[in-house]
Amino acid sequence: MLAPNFWRRALASRSFVIGGGLTLLVVAVALLSQVWTPWAPDDQFIPNKLKAPTAAHWLGTDHYGRDVLSRIMVGAGNSLLVGLVAIGLGLSLGVVLGALAATWRGWMDEALSRLGDLIFAFPAVLSAVLIAGLLGPGPVNAIIAIGIFNIPVFARVTRNAALQSWSRDYVRAAVALGRSPVAITLRHVMPNIASLLIVQATIQFALAILAEAALSFLGIGVQPPAASWGRMLNDSLTYMYVQPGLALYPGLAILLAVLGLNLLGDGLRDLLDPRLRRRRG
């Protein structure tokens, strides 16, 4: 799938390098937080509350005296996990539905397209609020809520790209040779659209992190005492008058994670879709 000079071109792409670097940084912090944080993230020490950054607490402490840096590190893990599982859910179901629609067309394509339109009619945050309102707050329900909205996104991308693949000569030749639709889809159609799906998944991942942060901010996502960036920002509404840093650092973490994934997606699109590169250049 990768062109032979992919990495050479990738390292020359500013978007790819900056985006990839930021994403790697966030992933590394998330992984590191599983084995080590400067302080135990949930340990409260009230006498030490709302302290400005010091040598011991690099980003200060929150209203329970917990170390802000440690909580941001753990928050990275929670944020990435919710995003990853939600995108995995949307991607796997969306690709299957999109491929089915492109392969069988007819009423199935029509029905799936209309269903997609219907899900699109609900704004993402709104559907997440509805689902979380029904199932109750918590990370699993946040994943379901974000994942459901991603199904039609991937289904549409898959369907449109797969339809194009089906009209190619070598796919028609495979049909003429009597290969089954499933075999053709797996052998010829999917490898063709994989790069498109990777790009879309990167961008949707960024949106999922934003959505998770918004849900946690509203108190619907990851629940306390577990650390989440959105929840930390909600707490900062009360305490930023004393300790403004509380309102800054979790937001910066979200910004870096989302910016990194968006840039990475842009870079990948330029690298994997040569037509676009020429038009943009």
Partner: protein, 313 residues
């Protein structure tokens, strides 16, 4: 045109009907008993049963769905469990905050995005273009509620120019608009970034057209060409995105109202979730979805009026 309108209108009704069915069914399969929640955990089974009867929850699902649907035409959206008042009253109190907030942020987004996008397009590939594109990249990545918090930090806490939140009511329109300004800016920023990118790429396409070259050859000024000819022709892709953005703005108000303590629909819906006030959740989600679907319908119709092509598509 009439055939297109009819077809589009029927599609609108079908979407609304399907959406109402989804909202109703989803709430129907929910674990938990609204009557029990409303009456409280200590309530006797008899009083819960009486309440269930009063709320009409003991009627068959089909009958309740029809009542739910009919409520949207008669304005009877049911009774809130938590507030013990009709949901329609709650909505009527809060709509005058949420709608102006969404409209104001759309205006702000357009006021930033159109000039920025056109500027970037006319300086394609030069530093001005790179700067605008870099800023939009940042704008898309900043969560709107965090941007709102930053605005509070700077303009309320540090500079003391604005109140940190709350809403004084519309008796003094200037004060009311002042209270909505920071939230609207916070909500509009990411939409402005998306819109600026769309405007830029639509304008770039138009700039390559022959008639722009003709206009240049005629000696028209650049400003006149860009604002008169390029913008007008780029309006179709731009209006499609603006239509979609209304959905994001309506949903965005849910979060932003909770940053600025604005008593709008967003705060109502989050409160309803905390109280498991299902009738309110049901009515609000349906109402917001209906607004989004309706706006997209109006954008389609407006586009068909500007450009005859989609009618046959």
């Amino acid at each position: 045109m009439l055939a297109f309108l009819t077809r589009r209108f029927i599609a609108l009704l079908v979407t609304l009907l399907a959406a109402s069915l989804v909202v109703f069914v989803v709430l129907e399969v929910l674990p938990g008993d609204p009557a029990q929640v409303m009456a409280g955990m200590e309530a006797s089974p008899e009083s819960v049963e009486a309440l269930r009867h009063n709320l009409g929850l003991d009627r068959p699902p089909v009958e309740r769905y029809l009542a739910f649907l009919g409520g949207f035409f008669t304005g009877d959206l049911g009774l809130s469990h938590a507030y013990h008042v009709p949901v329609a009253n709650l909505v009527a109190e809060r709509l005058p905050i949420t709608l102006p907030l969404a409209a104001l942020s759309l205006l702000i987004a357009m006021a930033i995005a159109l000039p920025a996008g056109l500027y970037a397009a006319t300086r394609h590939g030069r530093p001005g273009d790179t700067l605008v594109m870099g800023l939009t990249q940042l704008g898309v990545a900043i969560p709107d509620f965090w941007f709102g918090i930053l605005l509070v930090l700077v303009f309320s806490v540090l500079l003391n120019w604005f109140n940190a939140g709350g809403f004084p009511g519309w008796s003094d329109p200037l004060l009311a608009l002042r209270a909505l300004l920071l939230p609207a800016v916070a909500l509009g920023l990411s939409q402005a970034s998306i819109l600026a990118r769309v405007t830029r790429s639509a304008a770039l396409d138009v700039l390559q057209e022959d008639f722009v070259r003709t206009a240049r050859a005629k000696g028209l000024t650049r400003r006149r060409i860009v604002w008169r000819h390029v913008l007008r022709n780029a309006l179709i892709p731009i209006s499609t995105i603006v239509g979609l953005q209304v959905a994001f703005l309506m949903a965005g108000t849910i979060v932003i109202e909770n940053v600025f303590f604005l008593p709008g629909l967003g705060q109502l819906i989050v409160g309803a979730i905390a109280n498991r006030d299902l009738i309110v959740i049901q009515a609000l989600v349906m109402l917001l979805t209906a607004m989004v679907v309706l706006v997209n319908f109006l954008v389609d119709v407006a586009q068909a009026a500007i450009d005859p092509r989609p009618r046959h598509g």
